[in-house]
Amino acid sequence: AQSVAQPEDQVNVAEGNPLTVKCTYSVSGNPYLFWYVQYPNRGLQFLLKYITGDNLVKGSYGFEAEFNKSQTSFHLKKPSALVSDSALYFCAVRPRGTDSWGKLQFGAGTQVVVTP
């Protein structure tokens, strides 16, 4: 069975410092990997995805994520955090294949708190 783990319920970081949100997964094959962000009382917004190619993926709002196949990880990073980055971040994984539309699995989410 596939699974997604976000080991930290909350990450606290000072504004201007680097931000890392961790994600590891257990899915057979080479899955699609995603990061979404949820601001209070809002729906999820797509940040970035890994499909193939370069292990470092760049996304919206200055975020990037590094795919590590050997460690089955897809950590989200931002070099310099902003207070406005405070939100709930979800990692998600989906197996490849045209029969896997209903198999996007989300992690439990990591709350990011950026203090001024």
């Binding site: 997604v4 319920d9 699609y32 995603f34 979404y36 009382n41 809002r42 729906g43 999820l44 917004q45 797509f46 995805k49 499909i51 979800f90 989906r94 045209t98 539309w101 209903g102 996007l104 989300f106 992690g107 439990a108 989410g109």
Partner: protein, 115 residues
């Protein structure tokens, strides 16, 4: 271009009542999904649709029904609401195969409280 919209934004039901949540998308997406979000559990898929007139069960389908009579709409029904269905419900859609179908776009959510 409104993207994915959901109606209503918030609803309170009594146990045993029924209701329908409406999701609409104006991006001509083939695939649509209903999720529920509960604290500490991420999002869990209830039902999904790969095209007009087709639906399939997700991870937590019990107590819910869906219909996709038109490509742009995906309805989620609760026939007899239970307190365990108190949650935030999100609709999502994604393009067809070869058009970026792997990326889902989410609506703003519907908060449902069942007393």
């Amino acid at each position: 271009n409104a993207g994915v919209t959901q109606t209503p934004k918030f609803r309170v039901l009594k146990t045993g009542q029924s209701m329908t949540l409406l999701c609409a998308q104006d991006m001509n997406h083939e695939y649509m999904y209903w999720y529920r979000q509960d604290p500490g559990m991420g999002l869990r898929l209830i039902h999904y649709s790969v095209g007009e007139g087709t639906t399939a069960k997700g991870e937590v389908p019990d107590g819910y029904n869906v219909s996709r009579l038109k490509k742009q709409n995906f309805l989620l029904g609760l026939e007899s609401a239970a307190p365990s269905q108190t949650s935030v419900y999100f609709c999502a859609s994604s393009p067809g195969v070869g058009q970026g179908e792997e990326t889902q776009y989410f609506g703003p959510g519907t908060r449902l409280l069942v007393l």
